[in-house]
Symmetry: C2
């Protein structure tokens, strides 16, 4: 049996740069560690903030530490509709031409002019795991998962390889709700058709026609 990839759900959260954090939490303030996340070195902070868009507000949004070079809010497609901003699917860090929003903390507000993304689904893994799975950084693959009455195969899944990563596929809350939530869902990688359904549709069609002719 190959690599069984744990599938984890990311609820809406924000990564912040120190400068933006101090603007809304107060000068000299910093993140307070609360709990570890599955990726080594990443943690949830005690601090929370509100994010406001043209149509709605989310309160009590989790801040993940440590600080990053740029502030980035990650939401689901459903969240984007509630906030009233376009849902733009991007890899983490690729925030050019993305929508903004208002961040509200105990010491002030900050107008972000960009940085709101719907995270593209992705797998974190180490170089050793990448060799085992025969994939490399930035490959796109299918992930076949198993779920009672509601299984899915995810296409367009980006592989991210880094010695500091732990093996996990990250999906958002919409994607998690589209399958039934098993307690410990896992998936299997299939690296074919560039991880895209475009060619697979044609292949399936020809295969199905072949089966029909038998």
């Amino acid at each position: 049996m190959g690599l069984a990839i744990p599938i984890e759900t990311s609820a809406r959260h924000i990564h912040m740069c120190q400068k933006d954090f101090e603007k809304i939490f107060g000068e000299g303030r910093t993140l307070t560690y609360k709990a570890d996340l599955s990726q080594p070195g990443q943690y949830v902070a005690e601090e929370r903030l509100s994010v406001k868009g043209p149509k709605g507000t989310f309160e009590n949004v989790a801040i993940l530490g440590p600080f990053r070079p740029e502030t980035q809010l990650e939401i689901s497609m459903t969240d984007s509709r509630k906030l009233g901003v376009p849902g733009v699917i991007r890899q983490s860090g690729d925030t050019k031409d993305t929508p903004g929003c208002t961040l509200i903390g105990p010491a002030g507000e900050l107008e972000l002019d960009h940085g709101v993304i719907v995270a593209k689904r992705h797998i974190h893994m180490t170089p050793v795991q990448a060799i085992q799975a025969n994939v490399k950084d930035n490959d796109e693959v299918f992930v076949i998962m198993e779920s009672f009455e509601r299984s899915l195969i995810f296409a367009d899944v980006i592989v991210r390889v880094n010695p500091n990563f732990a093996l996990a596929m990250h999906v958002d809350t919409d994607e998690a709700n589209a399958f039934a939530s098993d307690s410990k869902p896992t998936g299997v990688i299939l690296k074919l058709f560039g991880g895209r359904t475009y060619n697979l549709q044609k292949w399936a069609d020809e295969l199905q026609n072949g089966i029909n002719r038998l």
Copy 2:
């Protein structure tokens, strides 16, 4: 090219029996036609109601006509969490041992003791289309769909065949948000592995191992 199946999103809605409708809208009242749905003979009514669960309420819920023998509320997995009821995935009409909720209309309230389901994804088609796709009523298949940056293959999709159906796959709002919303999404049927990912995972694993050895 085979059958391109239009993929339609069902937002939360209710089907009602006449008796339950009269209890909350008033004796002698009936459904008022507002607009056709894609399935022949089915329509959205002018009337709307509220549904209440232990944790939350949805107002302005659409009622679909005509009346059915039994009242059935169809919600998404996300909705089930907001209402505070278990999300039970069922085919339409299979409501035994499902949760209930409170229905609120202009003339009263009604305590449903069961009938709240998360609809299992399904395809409506005619007998002629079933022959064309080489499937029969109650078959389970995969549906491969195409969507920018966020494609999916749905597993566990039930085929429903009836001369009165129009060709369409119905997914709920969570499932629709898990792919990016194209204006006219379509899918292609693949009838293999009983439409289940269980055996596909093993097959993919062996295939991937074979590819890795090349």
